[in-house]
Amino acid sequence: MRLSVQEVEFDAGAELNAFSAGLAGAGAVVSFTGIVRDSDGTLSAMEIEHYPGMTEAAIAAIITQAQTRWDLADVLVIHRYGKLEPSAQIMMVATASRHRLAAFEAAEFLMDYLKSRAPFWKKEIGRDGSTWVDAKDEDESALKRW
């Protein structure tokens, strides 16, 4: 298991290769990368605040839940904080399992929980001021399927 909460950029391809190289017995690797999206061309940056200490503990607990639920060969979670430019990578998860369904489900589970249960807050800094991103009802209800 690798868990990193960091300010610096990461290389998703290098992370994916390192993750896959260490696997034994896995037939399926799923990765997810979240990217700063400039919906309407007015975003100058995304600022991500987090709760040092709690963030790592919350993510570790989410990973443990996933490992309990699915037979996973390995799990990777990287999440950045600080000021990110449009198109920058925000975070990444990877899961490995014997079969594809478990790898997909575990990655979606991790994403759903990271979204609403890990202490990160996003602020969009635009040309005309900045706004905290509102949590979506659909993100909360996404947890119900697990």
Binding site: G34, I48, E49, H50, Y51, G53, M54, A57, A58, H79, I90, M91, M111, L114, K115, S116, R117, A118, P119, F120, W121, K122, K123, W132, V133, D134, A135, D139, E140
Partner: protein
């Protein structure tokens, strides 16, 4: 007790954290004390539905007891991922 604020709660109150001397038995009692202090606190806590609380870095609820708790954090619903 250390009280921490994040995101717009931090901005409204104007501080990331502060030391609070209190005998409030529950989170809700602490909120009531803080709201009575100043307008900026009253404003920050005016809509509890859009607030979350963590006790010693674990998500908790407003009716949870504060006995033995060293760190209380208030923040809006999380938006990670």
């Amino acid at each position: 007790m250390e009280v921490l604020y994040f995101a717009w709660v931090r901005e409204r109150i104007g501080l990331p954290r502060e030391r609070v001397e209190t005998t409030a038995p529950t989170v809700m009692a602490l909120i009531t004390e803080l709201m009575a202090r100043e307008e900026r606190y009253a404003l920050a806590f005016s809509d509890l539905k859009s607030l979350r609380v963590a006790l010693d870095q674990k998500l908790s609820s407003f009716d949870a007891p504060l006995a033995g708790v060293r760190e209380v954090a208030f923040f809006p619903p999380m938006t990670g991922g």
